[in-house]
């Protein structure tokens, strides 16, 4: 069975292409959204999802979130007794999602299509694949998030000959894609984005403003306190989306903070972030060679796009209201399910063909001669232009710098800057040249081929001798080697995970512990409740536990509502 997975910065979802179109699977707690948080409890069990998110407040040292932003880097996080790479953390989330899917369908999941931000780099995409392998499934196809959203939306709407722009502002990433649909073809014209812009950054803005106004230093706050504060602010941020003013009440020890913020002020504070969204939007429109009037719809997806300032930005730029009747949280996952159906060649989807683009420019490093005849090094010569429809293969002729050169190093770069030093180096290819030849005799054809799975192949042919050199870019700094993946897979197998039927208990305990940290006044009460629940858990009577769990949950709801 092939599933579609939206592996988000803050939330993840799983689903498949069923008989009636894409369906999502709920997790053990009955939610579609599983928070992308991993936590390790005292006995070394790994906890994923809502429970882990609650533990972010009570046990910040043993929990980690927003690790999607570190994908493609070798950064490791220490949880409990073990270090985790971002791939492994993602793999834990994936495992939990797969367990949900298997529980819902009763079938074994063998393969998945995972959505990634369109602007993810090569290394980040490879890391995502590695995470899939670590979770024990095959990941051949990655789908860009805006494309997925458009797929879900477009198929649902059955528009024909429509061009639209998908604006995807998630928890940690920002993506824009311009697409067109006609006759069952979903054609992506352009994608652009910012991998470090998302809802979390808006939260940071709020946090900074709060601390500045209440004369608090962010560094003085303990991790617990910070977690509590961010939770409050997150709630306030959502409230600002709907109303015009939000209130934040927070107790820190004896201190009580009462802070009000209205929508206008929030918009002013986040002006910089909003401005940062302009460039990718403009770039995508320019690369698609479209004018705002030529767009039919603007689709907002991603949880953070609910903020009114996003809608305002879009309407200011495009002179129209964005479309909001897709569920911004689920659109991408639904699209990933459609992509999974496409991958499986589902007969019901045979009419749909998706063509995507390569969001980055790929090229090589060249030298140039300036007016004074001096050699200037480090220029970027694009070969595959960004937003070329993939699969794509382009070739250009290059020459060595000097006569009688014996070796040529072809460096492969990805990025947009005209100078290579500010782009990302993907690899290099050493080409020995026949000796004693002039520059023109040593010219070579360099061909870059970028396939539909995002693998770049570099091929250089020495024109004079037809000698062929090849480089397939599999290895990147910050990406695990296959052997290492196998080793880490072994290690991950040994990690203990709470059985799925126990997860509700874990979640409710985590919530109780969070409330214990947050509400000082109710601590004795909560302590009693927790002790009582523990006692009942030990009885191992499912019926009793279920009943008590329900009551416990209701009691905590009441507590949260009252304080």
């Amino acid at each position: 069975m092939i599933v579609g997975i939206d592996l988000g910065t803050t939330h993840s979802l799983v689903g498949m292409y069923g008989d009636e179109g894409p369906v999502l699977f709920p997790n053990a707690l009955g939610d579609y959204l599983t928070p992308s948080v991993v936590s390790v409890d005292d006995d070394g069990h790994v906890i994923v999802g809502q429970a882990a998110r609650d533990r972010m407040v009570s046990h910040p040292g043993a929990s980690v979130a927003t690790f999607k932003r570190w994908m493609g880097t070798p950064r490791e996080t220490r949880l409990g007794t073990r270090n985790f790479r971002p791939e492994e953390l993602s793999a834990l989330i994936l495992r939990s999602l797969i367990a949900d899917a298997e529980a819902a369908t009763g079938q074994k999941v063998t393969e998945a299509v995972i959505s990634v931000p369109a602007y993810f780099s090569d290394a980040q995409r490879k890391a995502t694949r590695a995470a899939g392998e670590l979770a024990g499934i095959r990941v051949e196809r990655l789908i860009n998030e805006p494309t997925a959203a458009a797929l879900a939306y477009g198929l649902q709407e059955k528009h024909d000959g429509a061009r639209f722009l998908v604006f995807d502002l998630g928890g940690g990433t920002f993506d824009v894609s311009v697409l067109e649909m006609f006759d069952g073809v979903v054609e992506v014209h352009a994608s652009a984005g910012d991998n470090f812009l998302g809802g979390e950054d808006f939260l940071d803005v709020l946090e900074t403003a709060f601390c500045a106004e209440q004369q608090l230093a962010v560094d003085d706050l303990s991790p617990q306190e910070r977690g509590q504060l961010r939770r409050r602010l997150e709630l306030a941020k959502r409230e600002l989306g709907a109303g015009s003013e939000a209130r934040v009440e927070w107790k820190r020890g004896e201190q009580v903070f009462d802070w009000r913020i209205d929508e206008e002020r929030f918009a002013r504070l986040s002006e910089n972030l909003v401005q940062r969204m302009r460039t990718p939007l403009e770039r995508a429109m320019r690369d698609a060679r479209l004018q705002p009037t030529q767009l039919d719809e603007i689709v907002l997806v991603g949880g953070a796009s609910r903020m009114p300032l996003v809608a305002r930005l879009v309407s200011r730029m495009f002179g129209r209201l964005p479309l909001r009747h897709v569920n911004p949280d689920q659109a991408i996952a639904l699209g990933a399910c459609v992509a999974a159906g496409l991958k499986a060649r589902d007969t019901r989807l045979d009419e749909v063909i998706l063509t995507d683009v390569c969001p980055y420019t790929l090229g090589t490093k060249v030298s140039r001669w300036d007016e004074n005849g001096k050699e200037q090094q480090g220029f970027f010569a694009p070969i595959i232009h960004r937003n070329s429809t993939v699969p794509v293969s382009r070739e250009q002729v290059f020459q060595p710098v000097r006569d009688h050169q014996t070796k040529l190093t072809l460096e492969v770069y990805q990025g947009e800057n005209p100078m290579v030093e500010r782009n990302i180096k993907l690899g290099e290819l050493d080409i020995p040249l026949p000796p004693k030849r002039s520059v023109a005799d040593n010219a070579m054809n360099v061909r870059f081929t970028y396939d539909i799975n995002g693998v770049l192949q570099v091929e250089a042919v020495l024109i004079a001798t037809q000698q062929r050199y090849e480089l397939v870019l599999e290895q990147n700094p910050g990406v695990l080697a296959p052997a290492e993946i196998r080793a880490r897979l072994q290690a991950l197998e040994n990690i203990k995970i709470h059985p799925r039927n126990k997860q509700e208990n874990v979640a409710i305990m985590a919530r109780a512990e969070r409330l214990y940290e947050e509400y000082v006044v109710a601590r004795t009460q909560l302590q009693q409740w927790i002790a009582h629940f523990r006692a009942i858990l030990e009885s191992q009577d499912d019926q009793l536990i279920r009943e008590h769990r329900r009551q416990f949950g209701e009691a905590m709801d009441a507590l949260e509502a009252s304080v």
Binding site: E271, E282, D296, R368
Partner: protein, 673 residues
Amino acid sequence: MTSPLEWFGLPSDADEREIKRAYAKRLKTVRPDTDPAGFQQLHDMYQHALVWRQHVVERATAEPIRTEPEAPSPPPQPVAPPTEAPSQPRAPLPPQPAPPSVPHLPQAPQGQRPSQSSPVPPQPSPAPPSLPHAPRPPQAPVQPSPPPRVPAPAPLPPKTPAPPRGQWHPVQFTQPVAAEPPAPRFDPDAFVADYLDAAVCADAANVQGWLQQRQELWSLRTKHEAGRAVLQRLFRDPPPISMSTFEATLQFFDLDHALAGIDPLQLQKLRVAMQERHALVKNIGPGTQSWGASRQRLDVTQFFHWFCEVAEAGHHDVLAANLYAQPALRSLTVRQQAAPRLLERLLRERPPMPQDCASLLLNVFGLGPLLTQRGQHPGELVAHLHMQWLTLPRNIGKLTLQVKEPGERFGDPAKATRRLRWLQRPFQWWWITLAALVPKLLHSMGLFAWRFSGGVPSRLDEFFDPRLTRFCIATADRNRVTRQRVWVGAVRCALLLLIGAGITAWMLASGAPTGDSDAWMPLIIGGGITACWLYYLSFTALLLWQQRPEQPVQPRPLLRLGLIPALVAAGLALSLLADQLVAAQALLLSVAALSYLRYQRRNPRQRQFSPITNVVVLIYIVGMAAWVVLRFPVVSAGLALGYWLADLARQRKQLQLRYRPPAAALPVPADAG
């Protein structure tokens, strides 16, 4: 293949919808995941077809009957997007494009998208070298496309949001949507002026904020246009803008990426230029001058006075910093308007100013082209003003430095003053004749004039009597046999002969016998020296003529080539037939020397021997050779011919035995060497 439409099996008047349908149909069999190569070809053809059709539509709408302004296409992009307002039901194309015969169509796809043409685009023009090297020739920094005067697209009425669906409801907006403002026509020049006001010597964050707050830049088209306009202006005359501000600007307009079409080398040059100017303005920190406070106009009179005053004092940095920082001079239009009046004054008053200040003035106001239009050379004006400035008494130090001898370190100001004064007298024959008798005088005067003029003697004409300076310079020229040199030599020889004749006459008069050779001696010595001088002169003239490199345009090539063999033949004839051994020897030795020197100068030596070997071998050979050569005239004839043949062999490729007059008259070299 003629048309991409045919490739799809479509009629040549197929519309966009049909192309897309055909593409979609083929895509069902050529899938991107199973047949990448086929897909790429299909997609490329599809792109071509769209561009092709675009051209058909443009041609059709460009016909005289223009029924309605069609949706404006973004002008600066190479490929215009399909013009079609998709939000409305598709209107039938205004005038159905007349079925165009294929050969008349512009060969759109080939030139339009070089990056996406055929799957294997042959790139046969690898131009300037690079590491692996870029085949693209360096592009011009910005395509100076005329600013497109297309009205901004009419603001679209905000669409009514579709009815709520599922559990998601449209958002409640707290404030009315700011639709695209009904912008008055965007004026790039005004915008650039505003930008410069905001950006010159300003903080990067402020400039960024200023750009972000500009209402009109929210329109994609306007922003694109504005970005290009700003960059074009910066390239034309880099203002003093700090690096961080410039980077922020580039980033805002999204111009600093590999596909922006801006040559990174040019951009680097621009960065350096702006940084220099920014540092200059920052160091000097000029206040606003009274002539430059207004943005709309420049007070030319006041400005000119101020400029001349500061320039005469030689403060180039102060001038530059002021020119870059004044609001009046930021606008190129203001400069353009002021330029003619400024040039008038400059030409009328000719104020003395150093070279760098004059160039600055010319550059900032673009006076160079104006001068060229009037048939004057800007460099000449600059040089004139500079020379005038050098002749000011207080700049004698600069003058001395310019005219010093190569061996001297600083030069002698007193000498320079003296020579300047000497050159300022009028040209008189008797005076020159007298001066010719003073050794080295005319020669050093010539060198002085030559250095003072910077190598272009015609510049001296406005300062000194041209006949005098030309005479001196021609005398100083050792590389040519000029009339002036002949004249100076002749005067000196004549004096010598006169003296000799005088002494002889005196000795004869004082009673020496007529047959006494002692009495005739002074005259004979004088005659001998004159003869030597004449011999030297003619030898030099011949050598100079002979040593010139082979060029197709030289007149009388055969005569030039045959001179040496002819002279050798004459010498041999003299010795063998007429039995005039001494005359023959003299002639043949001269010819041998001529031939040798000619060979040496025309074929520069490549191999070098160590000096000691040279000296030892030379003494031996010369000693032996002199004996042999003096005995047998044939040897010297052989030497001459040998060198001549060697030269012939070496120069055979350049040899042109026919005189081919040049197509256009070559510029006559200046009257000096």
